[in-house]
């Protein structure tokens, strides 16, 4: 447990390598787009970021469900890592979207459904991270953030559709089916690059979270999964 595991580090290295390769391909080899020109090349990181942000938050949602069903601490550590990753990727997504929107639409921000939903997601899940920071009892922190994560995740599609009805301007979604085949490979390589990068980082981050939990729950920590209700009792008996 002292030595950090190599698996996640390999994933991170692989992710960075793929991301470099895919971006190099996208920036130099792939043809420019007819209407948008060079600006369009941001798509090679933007679209994979969007897929992976959704994936990371879905991962956090699954962790939240698993935690509430099993009460195993490992799901809390993974939830923390997955949610942080999802928020970071969503924030990156908004930033990239703004950089692309300025030369294309002439504005930094637009109230289109996906952009607005991403911003709402950043605040919703960022708020849950803030909640985690303000709760000292590990058992309560775990349960509350799992509950809040489930509520926020269920809310995402409602936000999306409500904003969609409210206003719409964004381009149709870019997937390998909707873009020319010359763009496929850099998109796919970058998608896997970002996927490996964040899963590797989640592996490392959840280990940090697990170690912090160990110190919070206090020695002696049983190796068996403690139930959530027992968590505070363990902490109490240690003192």
């Amino acid at each position: 447990m002292r030595q950090s595991p190599t698996g996640p580090k390999v994933l991170v290295a692989l992710g960075v390598a793929l991301l470099l390769a895919g971006s190099w391909w996208g920036l130099t080899k792939a043809p420019g787009e007819v209407y948008m020109g060079e600006v369009q090349r941001i798509m090679y990181v933007h679209v994979p970021t969007a897929w992976n942000a959704m994936l990371a938050l879905t991962f956090a949602f699954v962790c939240a469900l698993c935690f509430l069903l099993t009460n195993a601490w490992k799901w809390d550590s993974r939830l923390e890592a997955g949610m942080e990753m999802g928020v970071v990727l969503s924030l990156l997504l908004c930033t990239q979207g703004s950089i692309w929107a300025k030369p294309t639409w002439g504005v930094w921000w637009d109230w289109d459904p996906r952009l607005t939903t991403t911003a709402v997601m950043v605040f919703a899940f960022g708020g849950i991270l803030a909640l985690r920071a303000f709760v000292d009892d590990p058992a309560r922190r775990a349960v509350w953030s799992a509950v809040a994560c489930i509520v926020a995740f269920v809310d995402v599609p409602i936000v999306y559709f409500s904003v969609k009805w409210w206003n719409s301007l964004h381009q149709a979604q870019s997937t390998p089916q909707t873009v020319s085949s010359a763009f496929h490979w850099p998109l796919r390589i970058n998608a896997f690059g970002i996927l490996f990068l964040w899963t590797g980082l989640v592996g490392l981050r959840s280990r940090v979270a697990a170690l912090r939990l160990r110190s919070e729950l206090g020695p002696p920590l049983p190796d068996a999964k403690p139930s959530v209700t027992g968590g505070s009792r363990i902490a109490g008996s240690a003192s």
Partner: protein, 221 residues
């Protein structure tokens, strides 16, 4: 069901006994409505156009006070722990409190309508529809609001956390309620009111269901 009615009765009684607080929250909402008009300037056409948005923003801001207050009382003298020791279902406690909060917020919304009409000249004759929109919108605010207030009332920095968690979540309520109220005030030639009220109802149904499912886990320990 009996638990629910008992909890509802307790919360409504508490609100009635603490009606000074209810009035203070209404005054806060009315003050917010007054301040919004300064942001726009004395352009009566623009004010009337944005009246529905101001009404719901004022209601949303005031609702965090009302929701936080509903659990503040439970934290004093560890009343919540006493409630949980009772042989009553936590689901009953949740729905009792959520319905009491709904009543409080709906009342607040209804009370803010005359203020909006006076300040922004935004009258409507479709009062029953307006009442329906207020009831649906406040239902959507109170279910997640009660769930989150239960968590944040027990944390440090609770005044910041409740709006931080609640506001992004209730974006659909705000959008739909503002649109629906605007249509009632400014006229609805295309008959667009129905989809927005349906959205409000769907949001409320979803959040009242998950709130009841998850509340037990939030207060247990």
């Amino acid at each position: 069901m009996k638990d629910l009615l008992a909890a509802l009765r307790k919360d409504l009684l508490l609100q009635w006994r603490g009606r000074a607080q209810v009035i203070a929250i209404f005054a806060f909402g009315a003050a917010a409505l007054l301040l919004f008009s300064f942001a726009i300037g004395p352009d009566s056409a623009a004010l009337r156009e944005h009246a529905a948005g101001f009404l719901w923003l004022g209601l949303l801001l005031a609702s965090t006070l009302a929701l936080a207050e509903s659990f503040e009382r439970e934290m004093e003298e560890q009343a919540l722990e006493g409630l949980l020791l009772l042989p009553a279902s936590t689901r009953g406690l949740y729905y009792g409190k959520a319905i009491a909060n709904w009543a409080h917020l709906a009342l607040l919304g209804i009370a803010l309508v005359p203020v909006m009409v006076v300040l922004y000249d935004a009258a409507t004759l479709r009062l029953v529809s307006l009442l329906g929109v207020i009831l649906l919108g406040t239902a959507g605010l109170s279910a997640p609001g009660t769930l989150y207030a239960a968590m944040t009332s027990q944390t440090r920095a609770r005044q910041t956390l409740l709006p931080l968690l609640l506001f992004p979540l209730v974006v659909p309520v705000l959008l739909a309620a503002v649109k629906a109220t605007s249509l009632l005030i400014l006229g609805d030639p295309m008959g667009q009111l129905r989809p927005w009220t349906t959205l409000l109802a769907a949001f409320a149904v979803i959040h009242w269901s998950i709130g009841g499912l998850l509340f037990g886990r939030v207060v247990e320990d």
